[in-house]
Assembly symmetry: C3
Homo-oligomer: 477 residues x 3
């Protein structure tokens, strides 16, 4: 028996009458505000005028590592989900893979994956039946047809979703011509801007380090074997990103360690890195020094610096060697933010032009390190709950543990951080509902009046992300 798929208007709001009424009123004030999405992973080429999504599985399942790993955790091979790897055999056809997802949809109960997918199916794709073994084929067909139409091209969806700014995440050596073209084609409508993510040229252990260092040299004409010239090359690329609309950089390392080494030591580390024979310790020092260098450059050029720390990338060597990166087997690790950032903060913690947004995979640091740091240093803000914690409960935990120390205005609002374009409205919706839910407690328990709560809700939904990412520092704001 199929069941109707509907989104309850009060989903994720507290269920007692008084709290719900407060939350509902607060949500009414922010639910329809435009979306600012200055961190995410949608590929820029999706916004080409003629780009269309493929079938339902290619759209909804195979690019989503949340969905894949959950099925894997219950014994499904990636090949059965339509994912091909080295030495793979028997790759399931898209329809078959989609059937597996549908038949196992109960696995996602209680997870944000289900919330996001239900939201996308219902409100974006107009699916009216719940996903299940019985409805799999019909939904596969309906979605596949729908997304072939021009109205569902990513470019069109930006307008439909009310997205005003969307940042892609780009390597330091990526070509930015698409961003320049989009700036013209979408002018006045939506800004699709790049983010400078130089990990592949700042982390000697990155798989693309040698290749991208070579490209960086070519692009900039700098002699990258010289430390000062290497930094100059990065400065040039940052300027190119700024010219293409970028307002931020991004840095994804295992730890947030920073160093302020003397130049001679830096040159030694660079020599080791370029030789391909850097030790693990040298590679770690290189990354730590480069976090500081990036902060110095941000203090100069004003690009907001994002640090995403704590991921043990590619924890499962078998998955990585066969299927590549970002396949659901990155595992968080314990972090010490205060110790890690200290060398950099000693130098730059009060710099008036520097802004750093911290994203963590170790929630035990929320109250112990991150709220005290963000609640004291003018350069630091705390980013939205990231990855595994991008959930209603994760948001509630962040508010609970951070606001008491850092208040609301040292938060950086919300970013959806996703490659799944169709889930962008769902993710912002979950955050806005979580904001309303949290504030309804503050109001219900008389810690805050409704007027203040409305203002805080707007700040969290839109204003803080605009301000934190300096999205208004242009004419188009």
């Amino acid at each position: 028996m199929t069941q109707p798929l509907t989104l309850h208007p009060d989903r994720l709001l507290p269920d007692t009458p008084s709290r719900r009424a407060i939350a509902r009123e607060l949500l009414d004030g922010i639910e329809a505000l435009p979306i600012y999405s200055p961190h995410g992973h949608v590929p820029v080429e999706w916004f080409d005028a003629d780009f269309r999504f493929g079938n339902a599985a290619d759209l909804l399942l195979t690019p989503d590592h949340y969905l894949l790993r959950m099925l894997a955790s219950q014994g499904h091979r990636y090949e059965d989900l339509g994912v091909s790897g080295a030495g793979s055999a028997g790759i399931a056809a898209p329809r078959e893979a989609f059937r597996t997802l549908a038949a196992n949809y109960h696995l996602y109960l209680g997870t944000p994956s289900r919330t996001w997918l239900d939201h996308a199916l219902s409100s974006v794709l107009s699916v009216e039946q719940r996903l299940s073994a019985e409805t799999a084929d019909a939904i596969f067909d309906q979605v596949t047809e729908t997304v072939a139409t021009p109205e569902f091209a990513p470019r069109a969806l930006l307008g439909r979703f009310g997205v005003r700014v969307l940042s892609t995440t780009d390597s330091a050596v990526d070509d930015l011509s698409r961003h320049h073209r989009l700036a013209k084609e979408l002018a006045g409508q939506c800004r699709v801007i790049p983010t400078f993510r130089p990990d592949s040229v700042t982390n000697p252990e990155h798989p693309d380090f040698a290749r991208d260092i070579a490209r960086l040299g070519e692009q900039t004409g700098q002699n990258l074997s010289d430390w000062a010239s290497y930094l100059e090359a990065l400065r040039q690329r940052r300027a190119a990103f700024i010219a293409a609309g970028a307002t931020a950089t991004d840095h994804g390392f295992d730890t947030p360690h920073t160093l302020t080494l003397p130049m001679a030591d830096c040159q030694t580390l660079l020599d080791a890195a370029l030789s391909g024979r850097a030790t693990k310790d040298q590679a770690a020092q290189f990354r730590a020094q480069m976090l500081t260098e990036m902060a110095r450059m941000s203090a100069d050029d004003g690009l907001v610096m994002q640090i995403h720390a704590g991921s043990w990338r590619n924890y499962a060597p078998d998955i990585q060697s066969r299927f590549g990166q970002d396949m659901g087997y990155d595992i968080p690790r314990p972090l010490n933010w205060a110790a890690g950032l200290k060398p950099m903060l000693d130098e730059l913690g009060f710099h008036p032009n520097l802004r750093i947004i911290l994203y963590t995979l170790d929630e035990s640091g929320y109250g112990r390190e991150l709220a005290p740091l963000a609640g004291a240093f003018p350069t630091l803000r705390l980013g939205a709950p990231w990855w595994f914690f991008d959930s209603p409960a994760g948001m509630a935990r962040q508010f609970d543990q951070v606001v008491e120390t850092a208040g609301f205005h040292n938060l950086a609002g919300f970013v959806d951080d996703t490659r799944a374009l169709l889930s962008i409205p769902a993710r912002h919706d979950v955050y806005r509902r979580s904001v309303a839910a949290f504030l309804s407690q503050q109001v219900g328990e008389h810690q805050m009046g409704m007027q203040d709560a409305h203002a805080v809700a707007r700040a969290l939904a839109v204003e803080l992300v605009q301000d934190s990412y300096r999205l208004n520092n242009t004419n188009e704001g």
Copy 2:
């Protein structure tokens, strides 16, 4: 003034009308389901036909380290609680010890100990007055009389409690004849099965290591000074446990570290262990290698592997030297599950026949390591909140931090993990009420419908533990 002892039918359920109604309905669907208890510490000899409990103190107080340590924390000597140790003098008589418990019963307010004891007194022992200084003697007498009757023999209680499977925890060299006898005597009624817990022959620092290694050699005829033969001896004992009905092993180490050393290094470690001169580091390596060896054997023979990690056993040397082990002074320690398990998971993380259930004493790893691991590796499930966290709040925290990432189906359901036979129904009752309470929020906030919630409730109450521990892999399921 004595007070009546009653168990409110809606205890532990949310107190708002809508949430309570939902929780109540969900609880109605699972409250009376049979009990599956595949991990615990009830001694197998208690199930001899003629076994009777002693007096109320020997039954309820002295074997319960939760109760003992709380009284100790307020300055009561173990001797005053009827516990005798080396050099003890003035051991209180059972009635006297019971009076001390009763007079201090307020210490347990807010703790699961009180919930369990009230439940056992009321629903199992038909006590009608609350425990207090005034009622101590009368309750002591009533309980002592009651448990002398055949209807309150442990064997009879299994039926009364609706226990379908109960696992004891047994050393690798324990005699299994009782389990074989019980398999016949209780056939069709309840399975009392052993669990293979080889710590005393896999941990060189275990107090019984030398003795039990000698026994293991005798039992199996293997030359235990040879690494391959040592492993073969363990394989033989595992087979003997399987023949006696076992479906699982258990491993209780301070950390979950694993290693995959070459055979020559293993032989060196074994030599050191057998010589009694293993260094601390060698002992740790031995344990780490043995976790991997046990996982390899489980992949072969199908025994589910339980890892209980994080206990600093016998933290208080004075208590240990005078009163022995398990007296309430084991203290949790920080864990790094991801780093610890990696060597083993690199080899076996996707093995189709391997299942490992993880139990932790460090809740900070729930969201940071355990949910991401269990939500990705098909071999891993996360066990119920353990020990200090076996409480309504502990269960709520686990659901809150784990389900968003791992869903419900990577949990292993509930085990009561107790030696206190009378508390078994109480412990499962607390878990089922916590399940109903958590799901009532998901339903009340429109994240899940009632039909799904009923299914999840049944899964958590019964199905997941059956499946996780492979309890249905026999004819008697």
Copy 3:
């Protein structure tokens, strides 16, 4: 438009009708109980008969590092807040600084700072308008006038607030004559007693170490270059503190590590410390040994020992060098309480005369270490949520994670830990409301009856702090 400032009578209580009714009834039983404040930082000279507060900024803003750091986190210079440091220029006048606070008062939404300040403004200072840019001047004037009157001298406020005991925190070499005088002048009304905090003579890295060691030698006539005499000098000062009314010591170190070194090693450490050339490791060993020595002396003389651990003092060197200590840039660090305390507990963990109260800045240890330790060792109690966690949510987290294991009676009640005298009633009020809120859940979910809940509420509000700090061990109790 100005808004009225009112304190809702049910603030911080749960907002559902049944829970609020229960909480309200519980709060009624404890709201007006006297205040016992055996740990705090009010300077003793404030209680001189003729002491008057200065203007509103000097009273409310500049001494409060919570308020200062939040403004700093949003880019305000300390100088703009009226705080002068080395090389400062353009120090704002008090009225100007107060205007900055008022104009940024929204930053404190959701933080206890706002709760405390609103409470002080409304219930102590009779301010009737909410603080804002518009009301800043009028409130500045009103407060400045009010606190110039004798009725608002600190000595008078003690009576008005119902404070029965207030402890100051004093260095080992501080003069205690004021405490002796106050004992006479306030006899039968309020005890203002000192606390022995010897960090400046037990931590070789303390900025005042050399100076205070010299003073200690002068005060006691002991030859401090000899280990035994150094300890004897400390014993003498402890006796002097006891004579001045002290019931407790306090120790604030980065970690809770303890050692039990042989005397010769202690002498070596002392030699290094006095030479000013102790290594970092020697300084850490010195502190660890001194925690044990202080515990030994407490076992002898009965002073309750407080350990405040986990603060990375003066994390921002620029702030420290310019503005000094305690300016809002202390950052918590991860702690291992179980490992740290073990050497001392091995020796003294069961000593009948020793009491130690633990305060932590790492909440991840609540359930993992602190509740298991406090729930087993008769010498240990867990202190109230400290510093960043002195908030309604912080209190809820402590109750949630600790009570299930340690019960209520291994908690030490509440201390306000503040220098902000006007906030003392507010802080106790927040705690009492949090107690009522937590217990209302236990009652509403039928884990506890109202009679027990009333008793627990009184214990938490008053009795446990009296007992834990041995405040009744005198005639005046």
